[in-house]
């Protein structure tokens, strides 16, 4: 081919890219990376701008904040019981994680390491249930958890305004994914290790908690984080199962919603509270990130 075919600007660009493909790939990489970061981080930036803009200027807000009202963060913490909401959220999420991991471990052990008839169909059933939207269970669950049902003549306990009223549906919704993750991990632990633990003096259950679980740490941590985040940001049942006061175990999302009152909408306060509410999750993820990465990739790798 002759050079004449590459005449003109387009021609020269084409020629350059053909002979310097490494540069083009590098350019593509940076374009992709920058777009991804912008898409991911822009909402946070927008929240920040919204938070620091004084409330009387909210309607002329632009990409760059014109006034800084850093005090909004102090106001949110001092004048509203934000810490109480966050505490409730963390506590309820923690309880849910503990219940899910405990039950999920037992189920994961059974599905992953024991052969029993009907295992396949049962796993499929679990998968099917896990795809049901939570709202499908709303009315029966609400009746069940507020003491409006009676089972064999005994009324169900009234869990409205208690943490259990939220822990129960959250566990129900999070358990299938927990079981799936843990089943995958537990099934990969060699049989020899469990046998060794049992011969050394543990029961099957002891082997699960002393050997199988510690060795599946990445999976357990991943499942725990997924459940924790899921519960922490859940709105629907949190909104239904309490009256919204922090003393009655209202969670962070309900607390943020409380800034939106009948006649005023304190968007800057909501933004500030949201940003503060992100901190616990961010800390958690940073601490556990190594485990999460291993957990998310390990499932696909078989030795």
């Amino acid at each position: 081919m002759s050079d004449q075919e590459y005449s003109g600007l387009t021609g020269r660009i084409v020629k350059y890219t053909i002979h310097n493909s490494a540069d083009v790939y590098r350019l593509g990489f940076w374009v992709g990376l920058v777009s991804f970061i912008m898409i991911t981080l822009f909402p946070f930036y927008w929240l920040l701008v919204l938070a620091v803009t004084p409330d009387n200027q909210l309607y002329q807000m632009g990409f760059v904040p014109e006034n800084f009202n850093i005090g909004v963060f102090a106001t949110v913490v001092q004048e509203y019981p934000l810490h109480h909401y966050i505490f409730n959220s963390i506590l309820i999420a923690t309880i849910t994680v503990i219940v899910c991991i405990t039950l999920g471990s037992l189920a994961g052990y059974a599905f992953g390491r024991v052969d029993f008839p009907g295992k396949g169909p049962l796993l499929v059933l679990l998968l099917v249930i896990s795809y049901f939207p939570g709202i499908a269970f709303l009315i029966p669950l609400f009746e069940l958890l507020t003491g409006s049902l009676s089972i064999l003549g005994t009324p169900t306990p009234d869990l409205y305004n208690t943490p259990w009223g939220m822990v129960f549906p959250f566990t129900m919704l999070s358990l299938p994914i927990t079981i799936f993750i843990l089943t995958t991990f537990y099934s990969q632990i060699p049989d020899g290790l469990e046998d060794a633990a049992r011969v050394e003096g543990t029961t099957r259950l002891g082997a699960l908690f002393r050997v199988i679980m510690p060795l599946s740490a990445p999976g357990v941590v991943t499942a725990a984080i997924i459940v924790f985040i899921g519960v922490y940001r859940e709105f629907f049942f949190s909104f239904i199962m309490t009256d919204g006061s922090p003393e009655n175990w209202a969670v962070l999302v309900y607390g943020i919603l409380n800034f939106q009152q009948q006649h005023t909408q304190m968007y800057n306060m909501m933004a500030a509270a949201s940003l503060i509410g992100i901190i616990p999750i961010a800390v958690l993820v940073i601490i556990a990130q190594e485990h999460i990465v291993r957990g998310l990739t390990a499932g696909g790798l078989k030795e």
């Binding site: 020899g192 290790l193 046998d195 060794a196 049992r198 011969v199 050394e200 003096g201 543990t202 060795l215």
Partner: protein
């Protein structure tokens, strides 16, 4: 005291019977090896002793107590595994002390015992390492230390050397043997390697198709195999077996025949028999003088020679009436034999094994010696 007693143990999986009618008594302090081809049920037998599997029927006693349905932790046994099975998330110290810590020993006792165990297996100074920093041999030593530290009644080993390289395997073999003698712990060892079984054990239990064939000291298994399976399985290279029948005072195999003493050897006329001759009991006709009761010479052709150093395995073909029989001879490497040669061989009639042609059960282990005849009544009484 660690006597192990298996009575009529049977283990069935969904569609296969893994072990059947297993009766085995292992004396206190004895080293018994379960050996057999893969899938024969030897590991399943070990698992029923360990409690990792419960038998479908039958009873298991350890140290005089019935443990058939007890979980492994209540049996006071220790086990060494083929894949070593050290806990990767624990250090060597934590691995060795795992069982002791579970049993709430006090810290001083644990430290003392771990130290002793580590000294026995020569792993001093490695307690803080994690298992993946150790070589294969060291890992298996940790496995052994973990087993002996609890001073169990019974020591179970499931092909512990199978994953090590050949040289290390031989070294560890001696070491395990020495250790077992020193500690005097009853040991049950599973392997598919008959050489390992021969060299290490007080007694060998040969298993085939889930059934115990013979449980005797190694040399007895070698010299007096109870049936053709044991005869072929024990000894390397394995025994030559030929089908033949009894004709007059002769064993008539297609290519050759051998006289036997009708007064000492109870063979019925016309009965089909299987004749077994070990490769080392076949000699060149020139050396016939050196054996007490040589057979008549047989003319054979040398097919293939396999020198292994101290001896040469010669694959011989004998042809009669268009039928070729192959037999294996282990010859002195100094002898001048070449592939393609036609040579004459004899075998020692003292060492010819005769098996029932239908059942494969041994009838006699010599064509000359009356004491080599298998006492059927005694065998059946045992079973």
């Amino acid at each position: 005291m660690g006597e192990v007693n298996l009575t009529d143990v049977r283990k069935e999986y969904e569609d296969v019977i893994a072990v059947e009618g297993m009766n085995l008594t292992i004396e206190d302090g004895e080293f018994v090896t379960l050996v057999g081809p893969s899938g024969c049920g030897k590991s399943t037998t070990l698992e029923t002793i360990s409690g990792l599997t419960t038998p479908t029927s039958g009873t298991i006693e350890i140290a005089g107590k019935e443990v058939t349905n007890k979980p492994p932790k209540d049996r006071n046994i220790a086990m060494v595994f083929q894949n070593i099975a050290l806990f990767p998330h624990m250090t060597v110290y934590e691995n060795i002390s795992f069982g002791l810590r579970l049993r709430d020993f006090d810290q001083e006792e644990i430290d003392r015992r771990v130290e002793d165990a580590v000294e026995i297996v020569q792993l001093e100074g490695m307690l803080d390492r994690s298992p993946d920093e150790l070589s294969g041999g060291q890992q298996q030593r940790v496995g052994i230390a973990r087993a002996i530290v609890r001073q169990p009644d019974v020591f179970l080993m499931d092909e512990p050397l199978a994953n090590l390289d050949a040289k290390l395997r031989v070294a560890m073999r001696t070491e395990i043997q020495r250790l077992q003698k020193e500690l005097g712990i009853t040991s049950v060892y599973v392997t598919h390697d008959q050489e390992e079984a021969m060299t290490m054990s007080d007694r060998i239990a040969i298993i085939n198709d889930g059934e115990l064939q013979q449980c005797s000291p190694p040399l007895e298994c070698y010299n007096r195999p109870v049936n053709t399976f044991v005869a072929q399985f024990i000894g390397s290279p394995s025994m030559n077996l030929f089908n033949g029948q009894v004709a007059g005072d002769e064993l008539d195999v297609s290519d050759f025949s051998a006289e036997f003493d009708t007064t000492t050897t109870p063979l019925q006329q016309g009965d089909p028999v299987t004749v077994g001759i070990r490769p080392e009991d076949i000699y060149l006709a020139d050396d016939a003088d050196s054996i007490a009761h040589p057979s008549r010479p047989v003319t054979v052709t040398v097919d293939v020679l396999e020198p292994v150093g101290d001896q040469t395995y010669a694959y011989l073909l004998s042809e009669t009436d268009g039928e070729t029989t192959e037999l294996l001879m282990s010859a002195d490497p100094d002898k001048d034999i070449n592939e393609g040669d036609s040579i004459e061989v004899v075998f020692s009639r003292d060492d010819v094994h005769v098996f029932d042609g239908r059942t494969g059960d041994a009838i006699t282990h010599s064509l000359v010696d009356a004491t080599a005849v298998v006492d059927k009544a005694a065998v059946e009484g045992e079973a």
